[in-house]
């Protein structure tokens, strides 16, 4: 397992710094000694099973609930401190399953939150446009679909030009097109230097999009780093799919015979070969000796899901 502290010391000044954070509800340790440094301008993923402590961690980072022990600082200000109000103006938050006010229209909802945030009301209409809700600005939220509510919640989080965004399961209820445009907005925000913390159950969705991520289980951070670093750290095997004719299956076995590969499985039209990362190039060279008999070759890296289950099991 990775030495989390080593990975974090390589960072510059952290915008969000959590040290020795605990949250206990009686005998239940919802968060159990979390250290986390999130750097300025990074898109940081926090993943874990339901009940792993992600949402509790989010709420503590937002100062909604106090930590039992430890300290969380955002932009240098303690979240429980008196000067945190000023920091809050720079934070946008989209809660999981955001609940807004049914009796207000989309635009009225944003006006309400913009006043609370001290943001200009002139930001509201462009924010609605940015999330693709300009056409529904004057419709009551009760008429919105789940995806539209989620987008309105996101527009709310963008008010006041936040420097830090906390997004808890932000793509719940969004269709594939909306998910794509959501991440396009995140890319744009990232280029503007906004720091973002995101949780998601859909690991495939965030594995290519986050800069770094932390895997949380049972209130603890099990691993933290880039997806690639976690893959290497977990040392999960790769899988080759070697597409050959059935009569050439044995030739594949023979070509790889001298290499320390794992399982070699024969399927209808291909052979699946498992190997460690360090023999990857040697396997490719060995397969190259088969020349044209290899019709196709693909390498599957372990997915974030594989990594996640590797760390959390």
């Amino acid at each position: 397992m990775a030495d989390i502290s080593t990975m974090q010391t390589e960072t510059g000044a952290a915008v969000i710094a959590a040290h020795g954070v605990h949250k206990h509800y009686g005998p239940i340790h919802a968060v159990d000694g979390v250290d986390l440094d999130i750097r300025a301008g990074e898109l940081f993923g926090l993943i874990g099973h339901n009940g792993a402590g992600k949402s509790t961690m989010f709420k503590m980072m937002l100062g909604l609930i106090p930590a039992t022990a430890g300290e969380i600082r955002i932009d240098g200000a303690q979240v429980s401190g008196g000067n945190f109000r000023a920091v809050r103006r720079t934070i946008g938050y989209l809660p999981e399953n955001v609940v807004l006010y049914d009796n207000l229209t989309g635009l009225e909802t944003l006006h309400f939150f913009s006043r609370l945030k001290g943001a200009s009301p002139a930001e509201c209409a462009p924010a609605l446009e940015r999330v693709g809700l300009a056409h529904a600005a004057k419709r009551r939220v009760r008429e919105y679909s789940k995806g539209m509510r989620q987008r309105l919640g996101f527009a709310q989080a963008l008010l006041g030009k936040p420097r830090i965004l906390f997004l808890d399961e932000p793509t719940t209820g969004l269709d594939p097109e909306a998910i794509r445009s959501f991440y396009a907005i995140l890319r744009q925000l990232r280029s503007e230097g906004v720091t973002m913390v995101i949780t998601s159950h859909i690991l495939a969705e965030i594995q290519e999009r986050v800069d770094r991520l932390a895997i949380m289980t049972a209130g603890k951070i099990q691993a933290c780093g880039t997806v690639q670093a976690l893959r290497e750290q977990m040392d999960l095997p790769l899988w080759f799919t070697v597409r050959v004719a059935r009569e050439d299956f044995e030739a594949v076995r023979t070509a790889l015979g001298h290499l320390p590969v794992g399982a070699i499985e024969a399927h209808d039209d291909h052979v699946a070969v498992q190997c460690r990362r360090e023999v990857k190039m040697a396997v490719i060279e060995a397969l190259a000796t088969l020349g044209g008999r290899v019709r196709d070759l693909t390498v599957r890296e372990p997915s974030l899901e594989d990594v996640f289950f590797g760390f959390s099991d």
Binding site: G63, R85, Y93, P95, V98, V99, L116
Partner: protein
């Protein structure tokens, strides 16, 4: 404390009640009841039509003492617990707003709606009756309206307090009903029972002070003792020291009934 944050929350709560016609409905209820009482209050004595403002106010007091606490409790019982149960509280608290500001905003917004409907409802009746009222009568009626507003605000404060303590809306509504029963129906019976059971030995001295422990009684005293016609009718003067019947003092007690539950609610909400 930032006033703009309180005003933003209060504004939303107030306009929500205007838009969903809550204010209009309550105002119409007050108007209708007040008119009926003013014109038909003496029907049991075989007469109809407006008789005297003092008798009208005395009848209105009996009505308002049941109605306003109930309306205020229904209005405020889910102020905080409702947001918590719906799941919108976290988002609100993630804004640059303190819990005290949120609580005060909720309270002032709801109190504004209740005050508006009370003043509009009873005020309309004052306008209708104005040709039959002299300055003194108008002054009494104005006092009745003001004390009604204070009564509503006191029970609203209690409602907001229990909305902070209750873990869900169902419990909050149960507590609100229990609170209404206690203050409006049970409290006086208990006091009277204690007084009668002990043959007037127990509580004789502190009895008037105990009445101050119930905002509904404070409201009753405020109105009954300001009306010469009615004072003798009720006969309460025998047990109630005139010093305590000072409207300013009673008004102060009402303000204490507004401030104390809000203070307790704030303390609890910050936990």
């Amino acid at each position: 404390m930032e006033i703009t944050q309180i005003a933003t929350i209060a504004g939303k709560e107030f306009w929500d009640r205007i838009r969903n016609r809550w204010v209009l409905a309550v105002a119409l209820v007050f108007t209708a009841f007040a008119l009926v009482i003013a014109y038909f209050g003496a029907a049991q004595q075989g007469a109809v039509g407006f008789k005297s403002i003092d008798v009208t106010i005395a009848s209105l007091v009996s009505l308002v003492i049941y109605l306003i606490p109930l309306i205020a409790l229904i209005l405020g019982f889910d102020a905080i617990v409702g947001e918590r149960e719906r799941g919108s509280l976290d988002l609100l608290l993630s804004m640059p707003i303190t819990r005290l500001e949120l609580l005060l905003g909720k309270y002032f917004g709801l109190a504004g709606a209740l005050t508006f409907s009370t003043v509009a409802g009873f005020g309309l009746v004052a306008i209708v009756l104005s040709s039959q009222l002299d300055i003194n009568a108008l002054f009494h009626y104005f006092g009745f309206m003001l004390s009604s507003v204070l009564l509503g605000c006191a029970f609203l404060s209690l409602a907001v307090m229990l909305s902070v303590f209750a873990s869900d809306r169902t419990r909050a509504s149960g507590l609100a009903i229990a609170m209404w029963f206690f203050f409006v129906l049970v409290f006086d019976l208990l006091l009277l029972g204690a007084l009668v059971a002990t043959g007037g030995q127990w509580g004789g001295e502190i009895f008037p002070y105990l009445l101050l422990a119930n905002p509904a009684d404070v409201f009753r005293i405020l109105n009954i003792f300001s009306l010469d016609d009615v004072r003798t009718l009720y006969g309460l003067t025998t047990v109630f020291p005139p010093a305590l019947a000072n409207p300013w003092l009673l008004g102060l007690v009402m303000f204490a009934w507004i401030a104390a539950p809000l203070g307790i609610a704030t303390w609890r909400f910050r936990q």
